[in-house]
């Protein structure tokens, strides 16, 4: 019996990888006089998927994150699961 789970991915550049979008945004925030030290910009991805249980959904999420949703060369990701 499968049910629907919601996977939420946060994908971002690995620390140490240059993030021009984050730097430009940091500079503008600093210009706006916020004492911002660093900005990193990534992606937020939400996926609805049928799975046997939460562990199964999370395992599929790990697989999707590695195979498509992130580029393991320069990005890392986190995935969380919740039943819908």
């Amino acid at each position: 019996m499968t049910r629907t789970y919601q996977l939420t991915f946060l994908v971002g550049l690995k620390s140490g990888i240059l993030d021009p979008a984050g730097q430009a945004t940091r500079n503008v925030l600093q210009h706006m006089e916020y004492a911002v030290q660093d900005v990193r910009i990534g992606k937020w991805i939400r996926v609805a998927i049928q799975a046997d249980n939460a562990e199964h959904a999370l395992a599929l999420g790990q697989e999707m994150g590695q195979r498509l949703l992130s580029n393991p060369v320069m990005e890392s990701f986190e995935v969380t699961v919740k039943a819908l």
């Binding site: 430009a24 945004t25 910009i41």
Partner: protein
């Protein structure tokens, strides 16, 4: 203000990543006006009569198209000038910047097709805003569009108010001025291609790229001449 008896002066703001600024300078000069290029870091404007935010990809479209340029130092001065009635025109990325700044209503989202759209497009004037008095409502213009984030949207419930307040300037249309889904290139709500608020106007098409028939259309010349308040024959 510059001397109104002489040529009008148009300030063209260059942000990092603007790339239509020189085309816009040439278009303004072709109409007999003076063009001055303004750096985005300026805190105050030199004497100008008009302002243009040209097209391009300011700040590489980082965060959201136009979002970072909307907070550039010069934008405080732009906002002040707009409040005092100076005509401000945003073309493509300039339109996105003015929306992000809140000087124009709405927002421009990525095209639903996911594609960068670069093509000729007809648009019709729905409601000629202040500054475009010489352009009759219903006029159909042939202008190029070139954008990835051109899908115009407004907050829920805001669309009727835009029409009621005469803020809908241009709609994507067919050659006869019919605005319907088949001629909507980017999923913009109500086919909206341009809006206005007070003396501020924004549009996705590029009038500065339609300055002569040999380029495919000279409707951009008429458009910019109307905005500058020029009448009669304009020298090519």
């Amino acid at each position: 203000m510059s001397d109104h008896t002489a040529q009008p002066t148009v300030g063209i703001i260059v942000f990092p990543g603007s790339n239509c600024d020189q085309d816009t300078v040439l278009a303004i000069q072709a109409l007999g006006a003076r063009a001055v290029v303004l750096d985005y870091r300026l805190a105050e404007l030199p004497p100008v009569d008009f302002l243009i935010l040209p097209g391009g990809f300011s700040y590489g479209d980082y965060l959201r198209s136009g979002a970072l340029a909307a907070a550039a130092p010069i934008m405080d001065a732009v906002e002040k000038s707009a409040a005092s009635g100076m005509p401000v025109l945003g073309i493509c990325n300039g339109f996105q910047i003015l929306c992000e700044r809140g000087l124009l209503p709405g927002a421009l989202l990525p095209n639903p097709s996911g594609e960068f759209i670069c093509q000729w497009q007809t648009v019709r004037v729905v409601n000629a805003p202040k500054g475009f008095e010489t352009m009759a409502d219903g006029t159909v213009l042939r202008l190029p569009i070139a954008h990835h984030d051109g899908s115009y949207r407004v907050a829920e419930g805001q669309l009727a108010s835009l029409f009621e307040h005469g803020q809908v300037f241009l709609q994507y249309s067919d050659d006869k001025g019919g605005a319907h889904a088949l001629v909507n290139p980017n999923g913009s709500v109500a086919n909206i291609a341009g809006v206005s608020q007070g003396s501020v106007v924004g549009l996705m098409p590029h009038p500065e790229r339609a300055m002569a028939q040999y380029l495919g259309s000279d409707d951009g010349r008429g458009f910019l001449a109307a905005w500058l308040g020029l009448r009669g024959n304009v020298e090519c």
